[in-house]
Amino acid sequence: MDAGVLQLPLAIKLDLWLTDQVILVGLFALLALSLNLINGWGRMFSLGHHGFYFLGAYGAAWLTAALPTGLPGALVFVTTCLFGMLVATAGGLLIGVPCLRLRGDYLAIATLGFGEGVRLVISNADVRVPPGFTVPRVLFEVNSSNLLMYRLLFLGIVILLVVGVVLLIRNYVRSSAGRAMLAVAQDERAAGLLGINPTGSKVLVFLMGSAIAGLAGAVYAHYSGSVAPKDFEFVLMVTIFLIVVLGGLGSISGCILAAFLLRATERGLGMVGGVVSEWWQVEFALILILLMIFRPNGIFGPRELTDVIRDWRQRRRAGSKA
């Protein structure tokens, strides 16, 4: 496949590269939105999101390989994605239920241990060299002539998922259960006095976040065609976390914008840095420091892009009157 791609015209190569970048940004946006549900709206400090992504990817990859061949591709795709989601949710249940009963920072430590542990255990149990799965292409057979079609298809899927998750979060935050989540996030005891079960509310949010991360992992597995433990290391968690902090805890549009920005600067630095692939460490440190100084609440804080534009217009109108 690679040799074929090399001979393609430049314009097509650019298209291929661009779709690939946007798909990755979309996957990061999904991960960041789902982590934001937990860390931002839910105010629970989770550091294990890469573990749920991993479980979703491995779950989907395993089932795809295990299913008999000859089934309709779309059916296999949907089933395995749902399965990946289920595995990640089960992981969320396993770590979330015992930890969310406790208060404070146990969750951060336990989820960190979970995210790292689940990858280490599975990659150590994996006897293949190098460890990992090749995921059979189920939607259609890919070659250099239809690679762009394939990527465009995934671009569509990822965009659809991002839109779906954005709508889900917006509606959830405005629902009675979502407001209960916000109440619990601010004051568990006061919420309990109104008949809200704080643990139940937190577990629900945590599971929603794990499920979305698992779904993103499953789509990634199908898109990349292979999954390996090295794709799910802690740096991934750091990246997702940085997007959430950059975008603002509790901001949907901030999250999506930050996913774009981080990917763009990372690519940019990658080009400047050339062979030095460790540039991301410098970049992350720099972004965090600048963020602390200039925008400690993220780009928009907990608000949305639309709020910021509305305020800006109002201020401009007020300014022109004066």
């Binding site: 407001r179 209960a180 005891r189 006095l193």
Partner: protein, 234 residues
């Protein structure tokens, strides 16, 4: 309606309540007074299920409630407006109130309660779409009481509604507390450090000192009691 019998409560190894017994009858306003640190808040927290007693018994309308989780106890009809108000600052005033009706699935009942609460505290209606955090202390207290009323309680526990509030608003709030009792028929257990105003409003009172009930009487008698006059009305 509510009976506490020999309730002991601990924070870790420190005992905060020593054999507290008290009762509240349907329709009454009962007050629990005592100085700072006496255990008033602990008593209310224990009734609401935020704290489990190590010994003793709590019954509400004949049903044992000690050891039940807070969210169950609300469902039985006990609401609390907590000390320090603890409103949700990032939700609007209206959303804070709606949060109180979280367990009520019947939309028309929720609307009815909302109308009643907003009639009681018109300021809450004027400020309906403001974030709760932008209200003044007195308005936040009204919101905390309103939010508790939204649960549709038979018994309302109020923890120091006068704390840190301008005297004019204290007057207004206590008038509304009386109306809640008279017009809605809600039974009230009022915790106060401000004994003057509490003994004027309530029919009966208990005095709590370092975790023990030391006095219990009708309020007019408590107001005349030399011990009470010296310690709490001086």
């Amino acid at each position: 309606m509510l009976i506490l019998e020999d309730v002991d409560v601990y924070y870790g190894n420190v005992q905060a309540l020593h054999g507290v017994s008290l009762r509240v009858e349907e329709g009454e306003i009962v007050t629990l007074i005592g100085s700072n640190g006496a255990g008033k808040t602990t008593t209310l927290r224990t009734i609401s299920g935020l704290q489990s007693p190590r010994a003793g018994k709590i019954t509400f309308c004949g049903q044992r409630i000690d050891g039940m989780p807070a969210e169950k106890i609300v469902g039985l009809g006990i609401a609390q407006s907590p000390e320090g108000r603890r409103i949700f600052t990032n939700l609007t005033v209206r959303e804070n109130l709606q949060m109180g009706a979280y367990l009520e699935r019947d939309k028309s009942k929720v609307r009815e309660r909302l109308e009643r609460v907003e009639a009681l505290f018109p300021r809450l209606q004027e400020r309906a779409s403001q974030p709760g955090g932008t209200l003044s202390g007195g308005e936040q207290q009204m919101l905390a009481i309103g939010r508790a009323l939204m649960t549709g309680p038979r018994l309302l526990l109020l923890d120091e509604p006068s704390l840190g509030i301008a005297p004019i608003l204290v007057q207004e709030i206590f008038r509304e507390i009386e109306r809640i009792n008279r017009e809605l028929g809600t039974t009230i257990l009022l915790v106060e450090q401000n004994a003057h105003i509490a003994l004027r409003l309530a029919q009966r009172g208990y005095v709590l000192e370092t975790g023990r009930i030391v006095l219990e009487d009708a309020c007019p008698a408590l107001q005349k009691n030399p011990q009470v006059r010296e310690a709490y009305l001086g």
